[in-house]
């Protein structure tokens, strides 16, 4: 049984975890390069500013993941007897909130600019001894950013799937959705190039809505996690049938009459209880401990699983209590 012990990732998942960490470091390096390029071409374009802020915000999830990965595997302590796996959820709550708030503020900026009919002045930049319109440099920086973020997203996705890592999955999604934002910024700048000044603010508005959407989606996911949601499939609300499978396995034990299982997802790991109705009243402690050990092997994510003998199950689900 794992109570109070360090959680050990299986070999395969440990390798994936290393890969996830490496990808997060690469993300940080790459996003820094795109942020610098975009900053150099920022000018007074609202769309470009918004895309740049989105780029900067995109650095939060990898940082959060790297920190959380470091914390989560620490041994449970007296003060934190359940271990540190919630670190990922806590970190992601912060990220999601920052995204939503930053998105709202950028949307406000874009709408104000549009209503005030503020025109974006975009001047020139001198590169390689030639004078270019800054707008073209912006489009080049944005194209670079699209390419790298889509590539990153594509690399992260399979790792997230193998690790069943919701944080990394959300990060991969954000990377992949970047093409929409940056594509919008390109369209906005092209509109400005054709003298349609409103293109800039409209594109900025579109990007900020994208950021808000990212924030809300992450918020929903992480809140469900903090509310001790039963394990769900990656990137959705569809529940897994793992509790049922564990219950069925428990019922196969020769001393068990009926069983029911509740699990909660906490970051990478699952914790929960198996309520069992024994056939006779005299169950051996060793049998219970063995059951706990064996049932935990059904899925690598199971960290602590308590086996709790009860007199009966209500609706075949929760323990029946005589004087309720």
């Amino acid at each position: 049984m794992n109570f109070g012990r360090r959680f050990i990732f299986p070999e395969e998942q440990w390798e994936e975890r290393k890969r996830a960490k490496r990808l997060s470091w690469i993300s940080l390096a790459v996003l820094t390069s795109t942020a610098v390029l975009m900053y150099l071409t920022l000018g007074q374009s609202e769309a470009m500013k918004t895309a740049w802020v989105e780029d900067l915000l995109g650095m939060i999830p990898p940082i959060v993941i790297l920190i959380a990965y470091r914390i989560e595997t620490q041994k449970p302590t007296k003060r934190f007897p359940y271990g540190y796996f919630r670190a990922v959820s806590v970190a992601f709550l912060v990220t999601a909130a920052v995204l939503a708030i930053a998105g709202l503020s950028l949307l406000f900026d874009a709408v104000t600019k549009l209503l005030a009919k503020e025109r974006p002045p975009i001047g020139s930049i001198t590169l390689f001894g030639h004078q270019f319109w800054l707008g073209w440099a912006m489009i080049a920086a944005l194209s670079y950013s699209i390419t790298v973020s889509v590539l990153l997203g594509m690399r992260k996705r399979p790792v997230a799937e193998k690790l069943h890592d919701k944080a990394l999955d959300a990060d991969a999604d954000m990377n992949k959705a970047d093409w929409m934002s940056e594509g919008a910024a390109i369209v906005g700048i092209l509109l400005v190039a054709y003298g349609k000044w409103w293109g800039d603010a409209v594109a900025a508005g579109f990007i900020s809505i994208n950021i808000i959407r990212d924030g809300i989606r992450n918020l929903r996911e992480v809140l469900a996690d903090l509310m001790d949601e039963t394990p769900t499939k990656l990137g959705g609300v569809e529940t897994e049938d793992l509790p049922r499978r564990i219950a069925r396995e428990a019922e196969k034990l020769d001393w068990v009459e009926k069983a029911s299982v509740r699990l909660r997802e906490q970051g990478h790991v699952l914790n929960g209880e198996v309520f069992v109705v024994p056939k006779t009243d005299d169950v051996k402690v060793s049998k219970i401990e063995e059951a706990s050990r064996e049932l935990a092997k059904i899925d690598w994510r199971i960290y602590t699983l308590s086996v709790m003998p009860v007199a009966g199950l209500e609706d075949g689900n929760l323990p029946k209590i005589e004087s309720r």
């Binding site: 974006p120 002045p121 319109w133 440099a137 489009i139 790298v148 590539l151 054709y194």
Partner: protein, 163 residues
């Protein structure tokens, strides 16, 4: 990963140069209100606020370094200058409303008007480290680019302005 990204950057730089050549040929960017085609072979409305030695008003005549810049620019574009004198804030307000095409008056790039106007690239840094610019209406990007091209072409000479 990083290598791929590097190759792509080089690629993009190549595409950028070719594409810029191409679109410049199409005459992009355009102005939101068509200032450049109106000024070319037409009238350039210049807002003038005295600030020696950049803009010097004496009697009916205007001189100074910035006056010289617009005069030469107008000559290049075959346009006639129409002067509008006034206080700096008055002129910049008019410029913001597109009632002027350019304002000269010893403006620097730390002007509080920065956000609502298009300031050109600095053409000169004075003894106090202030970077001098000209102001054009916001969103008139072809016009802004034309003014900046003039400033760049005359970079060396303008940098060396004696104060």
């Amino acid at each position: 990963m990083t290598r791929i990204a590097f190759i792509r950057t080089k690629w993009l730089a190549g595409i950028l140069i070719v594409a810029t050549g191409f679109v410049s040929a199409c005459g992009l960017p355009h102005d939101a209100e068509g200032t450049l085609p109106r000024v070319q072979n037409g009238v350039m409305r210049v807002g003038i606020s005295a600030d020696s030695p950049w803009v010097v008003q004496a009697g009916g005549s205007v001189s100074g370094y910035e006056a010289q810049i617009v005069t030469q620019l107008a000559a290049q574009l075959h346009s006639r200058i129409e002067t509008h004198a006034g206080s700096e804030s008055e002129l910049l307000e008019k410029l913001h409303k597109q009632n002027l095409d350019i304002v000269i008056g010893g403006l620097t790039d730390d002007s509080p008007w920065k956000k609502s106007l298009a300031l050109t690239r600095p053409y000169h840094e004075d003894r106090e480290g202030k970077k001098h610019v000209l102001a054009v209406p916001p969103g008139e990007n072809a016009w802004l680019l034309t003014v900046e091209r003039y400033l760049r072409d005359n970079e060396e000479r303008l940098k060396a302005i004696p104060e």
